[in-house]
């Protein structure tokens, strides 16, 4: 809505002094060019070179790309990250919708609850990582302690130490962090729904589920889809949490593309910056395709229905 207002405003505006425009936009453009555009171009350039200290960078053609094709750790990392990016948004948005409905229905203490649910997103991943490492600790962690307390001690696990549970445990952490945020957004969308529509639904004597399913959800659908895309993008970037907790262990079961790039660039004993750049480039293409694909998918569906 603001977009159309803006463009209408601009069309009527005829005074566009070049000097002022340049002054206003130049600092932002310089920052963008120096710290975003150039690094990206540099990474693309790196991806076809062997770059080690004390030597001029050496053109190696597409050998990094072919090496990447058969790099099993990379594909494992891609798989993990995509799993994360596919599962987490759904979990977050579904749980957040339920929570938002609770608050929308004005359950008691809703102000306090909103604060309690939203707070996790304010913490840094470093803090969150350390905290959840303790929660998942085998000996005295909160999760195993609770399981033992309710007689399910047999289920106690080294949660982050087993390849079957490590990734799921970390996904639970991002869900913990981001659900409250999604809830707040959804609640805002629900609160801005026109009351006539809801009243009409009441008059039709809809059940609450029908009201939710046929009236509320379709109306806030754009918000939900935006949240899914946003969460998807966020999960494709996951680095800090993994780095603090598992560093990709065990058996690469929590390796994400970000951690693998970092490992290859700054931890492995190879010193080469070319190969990790290649990973970054390919990953960039995959993320772009993913975002475009999701956007396209959601648009298509909209078109079919309206």
């Amino acid at each position: 809505m603001s977009k159309t207002a803006a463009s209408a405003l601009k069309e009527r505006d005829h005074a566009n002094p070049v000097g002022a425009i340049t002054t206003f936009i130049l600092p932002a453009l310089l920052v963008y060019a120096a710290f975003t555009a150039l690094p990206v171009l540099r990474t693309f350039y790196n991806s076809t070179h062997l770059i080690v200290p004390n030597k001029p960078s050496e053109w190696v053609g597409f050998t990094h790309y072919t090496a990447l094709w058969s790099d099993q750790i990379f594909w494992k990392a891609v798989w993990n990250t995509l799993t994360w990016a596919a599962v987490a948004p759904v979990l977050e948005v579904v749980i957040a919708t339920l929570l938002a409905l609770c608050l929308y229905a004005k359950v008691p203490f809703s102000r306090v609850l909103r604060v309690a649910w939203f707070t996790p997103v304010l913490m840094s991943y470093v803090v969150v990582g350390i905290l959840w490492m303790w929660i998942y600790n085998y000996e005295w962690g909160a999760l195993n302690t609770m399981l033992r307390a309710i007689g399910l001690g047999a289920l106690a696990q080294p949660w982050l130490g087993h390849p079957d549970t490590a990734l799921a445990s970390l996904i639970a952490v991002t869900t913990w962090m981001w659900t409250g945020f999604n809830m707040v957004v959804i609640l805002a969308a629900m609160s801005s729904l026109p009351s006539e529509v809801l009243e009409a639904a009441e008059l039709d004597n809809c059940g609450w589920f029908a009201k939710l399913w046929y009236v509320i959800l379709p109306l806030i659908r754009p918000t939900l889809l935006n949240l899914v895309v946003l969460s998807f993008i966020g999960k494709m970037k996951v680095f800090d949490l993994v780095w603090v907790t598992t560093q990709g262990n065990p058996l690469w079961s929590t390796e994400t593309v970000s951690t693998y790039v970092y490992k290859r660039a700054f931890q492995w004993s190879t010193f080469d910056l070319g190969y990790p750049s290649t990973i970054a480039v390919i990953w960039f293409v995959i993320v772009l395709a993913g975002v475009l694909g999701l956007t396209f998918l959601f648009r298509q569906k909209d078109r079919l229905e309206y």
């Binding site: 004390n54 080294p158 130490g161 065990p250 010193f271 910056l273």
Partner: protein, 420 residues
């Protein structure tokens, strides 16, 4: 091309580099931030050197190992590393990329053990000053062993005897071997490493790790792995194995909840001989050292591992290379060697005389000597002998997943074989 653009850019923004080098300041980045005796050793050496050389200051930054390595990797790539830094022999990438200075005509090699110079040799040069050296030992918590009704003799246990001991300890509700891989890429592999080494002998084992003649599909390798697997499946390691950190494993072994054995580098005392409230073992703790498990048909039952541990290297880009080497030489004296032994209770590459050690820790050095009597050494633990993909795969499998019981012998062989 990018260099020119970016350099131009820097000038344009007016933020060109302004590195003002202090005339006589040596910077030193080192691991051991939380090992007080090593910190004190190096700092007192630095102080002595500053006093002997007026005008020189030595600025030391102490780190934990992981953050140190991360900081060094970026700083060296950026050409902004410190003059002297901590390194281990596995880091041949420093030599490969000409990042460290050849010390072969700069250090006083007469005072340094010849094997240490072998290990630090690369190409035509020798690059490291081997401050710390250690052997891989199987430490035994004698009181707990008695409680479990087993005996772990100094000369080790062969074949099924060791497996039986592990089973018996596990049945007594005690953890047979403390270990954890929460923050290091190697301790989980000690067991398998030790068995493979004894089974193959030093030469064939080195060949296996380096991907030369001996393959992971070799039947002897399979037998050794199967033996290790038997021990693991007998419940050797704690269930929280994957998240226990190196320091925590020490504590697990000697204090809570306690384990009968701990396979560890002989740097064990540097943490364990601290006072109990600083995480050390209790007073009067009965520590023994054993030769550990010996596989049947071992080619070299007396084989052990000696590793050059923490060493200092000099940055090739340092403006004060000779001064840095002079500082290292000031530590390379027999007196300093003995001082190191006494303070840190771990061997050193500086020529020193353990038998000269007196006082409360003399008994420990006697035990250590007894456990090493007649041993043949291989130099370096696996991660120090491997690079790149094999090293990463070894870390994930032999160090982590295999001892945690997550994968079996076949997977180890396949994964390792595929990594070369």
């Amino acid at each position: 091309m990018f260099r020119r653009i970016t350099a131009g850019m820097a000038v344009a923004i007016g933020l060109s580099a302004g590195t003002t080098a202090h005339a006589q300041e040596l910077t030193l980045w080192s691991h051991w931030a939380d090992q007080a005796s090593k910190v004190e050793f190096v700092e007192s050496a630095a102080k002595a050197f500053e006093e002997a050389n007026p005008g020189v200051t030595i600025k030391i930054n102490w780190y934990q190992k992981e953050p140190l390595y991360a900081a060094l990797k970026t700083a060296l790539t950026a050409g902004q590393g410190p003059d002297i830094f901590y390194a281990e022999t596995s880091q041949t990438e420093y030599m490969e990329n000409d990042l460290v200075m050849d010390l072969s005509d700069k250090l006083n090699w007469d005072n340094i053990e010849p094997w240490a110079t072998d290990v630090w040799g690369y190409g035509d040069g020798v690059y490291g000053f081997p401050l710390e050296a250690w052997t891989v030992e199987t430490y035994v918590n004698s009181a707990l062993a008695k409680k479990a009704g087993v005996e772990i003799p100094v000369e080790g246990l062969e074949g099924a005897a060791f497996v039986d001991a592990v089973k018996k300890i596990a049945e007594a509700g005690i953890t047979p071997m403390a270990q954890g891989v929460g923050d290091r890429p190697y301790p989980g592999a000690f067991l398998t490493h030790d068995i493979l080494l004894k089974k193959l002998g030093a030469d064939d084992y080195a060949s296996l790790l380096k991907g030369k003649g001996v393959k992971w599909t070799d039947p002897r390798v399979r037998e050794a792995l199967e033996y290790a697997k038997e021990i693991i499946d007998a419940g050797a390691f704690p269930p929280s194995f994957s998240s226990i950190k190196l320091g925590e494993a020490h504590r697990y072994f000697h204090t809570s909840p306690g384990a009968v054995m701990l396979q560890m580098g002989s740097f064990y005392p540097s943490r364990a001989f601290a006072s109990p409230d600083e995480g050390g073992q209790a007073d009067g703790f009965e520590l023994a050292i054993s030769h550990g498990p010996i596989p049947e048909g071992a080619a070299c039952a007396k084989c052990k591992t000696i590793a050059v541990g923490g060493s200092y290297v000099v940055n090739a880009a340092s403006d004060h290379g000779d001064l840095a080497a002079a500082f290292l030489n000031s530590m390379a004296t027999p007196e300093m060697g003995n001082k190191w032994l006494e303070a840190n209770l771990v061997q050193t590459g500086i020529k020193a005389d353990p038998s000269a050690i007196e006082g409360e820790h003399a008994a420990y050095f006697q035990k250590l000597a007894a456990a090493n009597e007649g041993a043949t050494y291989t130099y370096g633990i696996p991660v120090q002998q491997m690079q790149g993909a094999p090293r990463e795969t070894f870390t994930q499998t032999v160090n982590q997943a295999f001892p945690a019981g997550l994968i079996g012998v076949d997977e180890v062989i396949n994964l390792m074989n595929g990594a070369y």
